[in-house]
């Protein structure tokens, strides 16, 4: 390794790799360099890809099983190389890097296609025929969406949407393959797919959050899938068990949301809603937890999930009914919380517990 390279490595490690030991990183870096180098040589773009890979791996490191780190790095590197063909994804995340993303024609690229094909074979095998054909046509042969759309008599947008669904499925199958285990429940695969495709609506429909909470298998596999699009360092878990926890929780949430540049009013609104939810946990379930996520798309936002395994609410409708007086409904403050928030969802099962998810969106990002 040349001196300049090691200086760069140190830089990277100092930047975001505090949670990884230096030697692990060096080892990982070597692997990633090898994977990327085998595919694109050392064209200027190669270093970009190596850096991009490491950034993602480091971002995911705290939430990924250490044993998964190396395969994850390899997968990430391969995926990134593969995605050189599709500019959309990278351009969106990495506008400043603006790499040239034309279909490669060099022998290295051909070698990559071959290798990629074998590595992806099992995952591809699980896709349906149409998805497989589409992915091979676009990702491996490099045919652009417009050409495919013309051939099929549809629009590029429709092809892009199908591609993105197929990619999401491929990622799920790939991760499932790496884990070499079958999902324990029927819901696992749909939930993972919804996570992989970052489809929020579907995630809510499936109540993915609750599933992840209860299913260790998906909890583990979801991390690399989520690490793709969302930063993980914005997630905070706060246990709630007693009165003082309520005050602490709303302080933490306010602090975290403050980083997104929320207005004082929005911070107060959020802290108040959190206060109400925590009180319900302490009063009715004894204990539970708060999960706070910072969201980035389509706007900065904060999502708080309050869950407990308490007695649950028998009559949800009554609990949400707004009375004429302040203490309408069942006195859980839920109608008020719902009014304060941009999004509100509740699930409850008598005897099993209650999960309330609230979201508040900020203004469009301002510089």
């Amino acid at each position: 390794m040349t001196p300049s390279q090691s200086a760069e490595d140190a830089d990277l490690a100092g930047d975001s790799g505090r949670r990884l030991a230096g030697e692990d990183l060096t080892e990982l870096l070597a692997i990633v360099r090898r994977v990327v180098g085998a595919r694109v040589g050392s064209l200027p773009i190669a270093e970009d890809l190596v850096q991009e890979t490491l950034t993602r791996v480091l971002a995911a490191a705290p939430s990924v099983d250490p044993g998964l780190l190396e395969p994850y790095a390899i997968v990430t590197a391969k995926n990134l190389v593969a995605s050189m063909w599709r500019d959309d994804d990278r351009k969106r995340r990495n506008q400043h890097r603006a790499a040239d993303l034309r279909a490669p024609e060099s022998p290295e690229a051909q070698a990559l296609i071959d290798e990629e094909r074998s590595a992806m074979a099992s995952a591809l095998g699980r896709l349906d025929e149409h998805e497989r054909a589409l992915l091979i046509e676009h990702e491996l042969r490099g045919t652009d969406t417009r050409t495919i759309a013309e051939e099929e008599g549809t629009t590029p947008g429709a092809v892009a949407a199908r591609l993105s669904r197929s990619r999401a499925r491929l990622r799920v199958e790939y991760v499932l393959g790496l884990d070499s285990g079958d999902p324990p429940t029927d819901r696992c695969r749909p939930v993972l797919l919804a996570l992989s495709s970052a489809d929020r609506r579907r995630q809510r429909e499936l109540d993915a959050a609750t599933h992840l909470f209860n299913c260790d298998f998906c909890g583990r596999l979801s991390e690399p899938l989520l690490a793709r699009g969302q930063r993980q360092d914005g997630v905070l878990r706060i246990p709630i068990a007693a009165d003082p926890d309520i005050v602490k929780a709303r302080g933490s949430v306010r602090e975290l949301a403050g980083r997104l540049g929320f207005s004082r009013t929005d911070l107060t609104v959020l802290a108040t809603a959190v206060s109400e939810l925590c009180r319900n946990i302490v009063r009715f379930a004894g204990s539970g937890e708060l999960l706070v996520e910072l969201l980035e798309e389509p706007r900065p936002g904060v999502r708080v999930t309050a869950r407990d395994r308490g007695p649950g609410i028998a009559d949800l409708e009554a609990a949400l009914r707004d009375g004429v007086s302040t203490y309408g409904g069942l006195g859980l403050g839920l109608p008020g919380v719902r009014r304060l928030m941009d999004e509100f969802a509740i699930t409850s099962e008598p005897g099993a517990g209650t999960t309330v998810t609230i979201t508040i969106w900020g203004k469009d990002p301002t510089t």
Binding site: G41, S42, L43, P44, I45, K91, Q95, H96, R97, A98, A99, D100, R102, S106, S263, T265, D364, T366, T367
Partner: protein
Amino acid sequence: MTQTTSGQHLLSELVAHLREHRTKLREEWAERIQQAHLLTAMTPQEMAAETTSVYDNYVEVLETGSVEALQHYARDLSERIIPRGVETHEVVGIVLLLRDVLARSLFEKYQRDFGLLNQVLDAYEPAANRIANTVAVSFVDERERVIRQQQDAIRELSTPVLPVRERLLILPIIGVLDSDRAKQLTEQLLAGIRRHRARVVVIDITGAPDVDEAVANHLVQTVDASRLMGASVIITGLSPKIAQTLVTIGVDLSKMNTIGDLQGGLEEAERLLGYAVTKKEDATLS
């Protein structure tokens, strides 16, 4: 490995070529810009200065591979030219023209060796695309920032909180209220109450043609929130239609202090503040 070395070698050869012919190529580029009627808002002197800077930055990116300096320059340039009405297509246009001018010059230089030409272009193209993209994105970012700033300024102008006299604020609502604006208006009013230590607020909605249920609801919330801060609220200019809307959403109008017009509202405000001496004595007696 050998491929890269040669790639890097080609790139540095290319950079040397572009440096050597800097004056000629830059002039050719400026001429093309003129022919295409781009950047017409700029004087020839400015044009000469800016094209030279862009050219040098361009070559530097080719040489170092780092777009940071260019990005910085592009932002700065955008900031200067946006107020003069330069459009996105012009900025993208000039960068593409430069790409084109340089590519032509490379064609000329390497036309004898087709294989070499291909390699040179292979090395040149990605970097050139990257530059075009960087400049365009910087420009658009900057433009969006300027637009946002203007929008904020317009918003603030349209919801002024006016301190009329000690302890008295007037909030004239003019134009269409949507929920975003209504929320912002409330925030400004509440902050104004604290800043001016207001005891009475007159909200005049004569100038608000349309108040739907959501906004009416918001109006009621504004009144209640002002009260929580210790200020009394008088609403003036309430049209029968808006009054109807308020009743529809279940507002008890008898609990709102509503006065027909602004003049009457101000008189009532002064009475509440105790400026009318006789009224004050009345009040003390009651």
